[in-house]
Symmetry: C2
Subunit: 337 residues, 2 copies
């Protein structure tokens, strides 16, 4: 197995590119893919201040590493989710990475700063943990970007993530989500009062959309980045992982299928689901508590905090989904709502 | 396990409907689903003459049986494809069904009538067999419908078929195919000279789209219909079957996922891919040989016949795809085209 570039011994084969690479040319391949994603989708401009959403996993650490390597002004932000040992180890990996490279890492901790954690939120709301987790992370990273004057939020979503999300959106024909599934979401301005008073959502970009998760893992190994290998114990058995498995079966038989699926969508289908230009420019009202844009009086984050803050912490083991448990809990929740 | 209707002993459980049925109420369920599909999608009008494309498998025989049972004027047509024992047994099942019920079955045989068969066509053109097979069947059923004065062609595509085709079209974002994937395709008129001189494509309908293939099989068993159980030996390992497997995995975890995928598409997405109304009305030129509508001078069917008719028959075993063989052959064909 020889490197497609230098014919030296290869360390990885990329079936969908029908190519093998040595360590150096694989790292270059990864950087080139990020550069191309940034260019193709107008992700980061010259002199932009970037904040990277860092979980401590392979994707976010690889992303931060590549962005710094490419010369971007990229700081990190990590959120302590309170998911037992998993969260502790994740934060540790993020801190170690930042300290080892002298990078700035901003930290928020749900329990310390808002008096709740994800297992407790899941138990109290009786919803799958991924629901309050995703919403909390989106709210806090948006807030950090606006408060801190960052131009853009970068997240580590890779090709497998985006293809699986797209598959889920297509399976249910969530046309509204399909209209928003883009590698770059433009910032939005409005009358809500958060941040600098005009921007209500920061620009959000996914520079790893051209890399598969096997590739970001290999990138970290070759760069000597210690990342947390475990998947979140609360996500076990969730739909997203099932969609990944179904697409993995297709990809195994037809290498490149995921890439064709995701980029074919962007090229030939996404615009058919684009929201009305009118609707997109509409000014969102501000949350009465925190000033974030919301469709109601109080935003979903403030409502969650109000409901779960200060409640007796529930250990992760008690809400960890058993086999089939997540589905059953979701089914019950849906029937009630 | 009790019947959801009469509380008698159930013989089948339908997870996606969260219901079990006894034999009688399951047969009623199947008929009701066909009636609803016909109504919802304006498939067959009062007094329409129907021709059913009959393969001898569970779907086409169940379809013919239900349509006759519902009082439709439905004759059958079957095509001898020359795929060894499989085709012989398929034709036998179709003939036995028609004779047992005193129904009219029209027969075409590729080798007798056009001097080729599918294995030979596949070997000579060096393409996957499903390619010449699908095209030949479409051409001959259209021709039979126009020549015979039938108002509508009914095919046995079931929910699993349509969901798998949709998955394939979505994976590749074949927007043109997505624009045409409908349970009812309206007839088209034009200047091509086939049939009655005005209609160039007959109306085509899929009345089984609300039934899964497990259900059409159960229908046949309960109605005492002898159908050919084997899958086509030449289709083994093809993409369509892989897409079915991927969706089966999703369906197993989320019963109803396929139905939501397919009908959600029809409800909320299909119109976004609809062809230009202008283009659809455009008059297609007629094939110089057979008068069928075509985009070139000679239609694809006449070109295939010209290329393969009279060639030494190739036995099915010689072109039967080995594991992975279909994919490799297709890859080569693509690279060449």
């Amino acid at each position: 197995m020889k490197c497609a570039v230098c014919r030296g011994p290869a360390v990885i084969d990329l079936r969908r590119h029908n190519a093998n690479f040595c360590a150096d040319h694989f790292l270059k391949f990864c950087r080139d893919q990020v550069v191309r994603a940034i260019d193709d989708h107008a992700m980061i401009g010259l002199g932009d201040k970037v904040v990277v959403a860092v979980s401590g996993g392979k994707d976010s650490l690889a992303l931060w590493d590549v962005l710094v390597d490419l010369g971007y002004d990229a700081e990190g932000m990590t959120i302590g989710l309170g998911i037992g040992d998993y969260s502790a180890a994740s934060t540790e990996a993020a801190v170690a990475f930042a300290e080892g490279r002298g990078l700035t890492l901003h930290r928020v901790d749900l329990r310390e700063d808002y008096d709740y954690d994800i297992p407790t939120a899941s138990a109290v709301t009786n919803r799958v943990p991924c629901s309050s987790c995703g919403m909390s992370k989106r709210h806090l990273i948006d807030k950090a970007a606006l408060d801190g004057g960052y131009d853009v939020v970068a997240t580590g979503h890779n090709l497998d993530d985006e293809a699986a999300v797209l598959f889920g959106n297509v399976l249910h024909w969530h046309t509204e989500y399909l209209g928003r599934q883009q590698p770059t979401l433009a910032e939005r301005v409005g009358r809500a009062g958060s941040g600098d008073g005009r921007r209500v959502f920061p620009r959000k970009v996914k520079p790893l959309v051209r890399l598969a998760e096997r590739e970001t893992a290999a990138y970290c190994v070759l760069r000597g980045i210690d990342y947390i290998v475990e998947e979140c114990p609360m996500a076990e058995g969730n739909r997203h992982l099932r969609y990944k498995e179904a697409l993995n079966a297709v990809e195994a038989a037809s290498p490149g299928a995921k890439q064709a699926f995701y980029f074919g969508f962007l090229d030939r289908a996404a615009s058919r689901f684009a929201p009305d230009a009118d609707g997109a420019d509409e000014e969102l009202p501000a949350c009465g508590r925190c000033g974030s844009p919301t469709t109601g009086d109080v935003c979903a984050f403030c409502r969650l905090v109000e409901r779960v803050a200060g409640r007796e912490p529930v250990p992760v083991e008690l809400v960890r989904p058993r086999r089939g448990g997540a589905r059953r809990r979701q089914a019950r929740t849906k029937a009630r709502s």
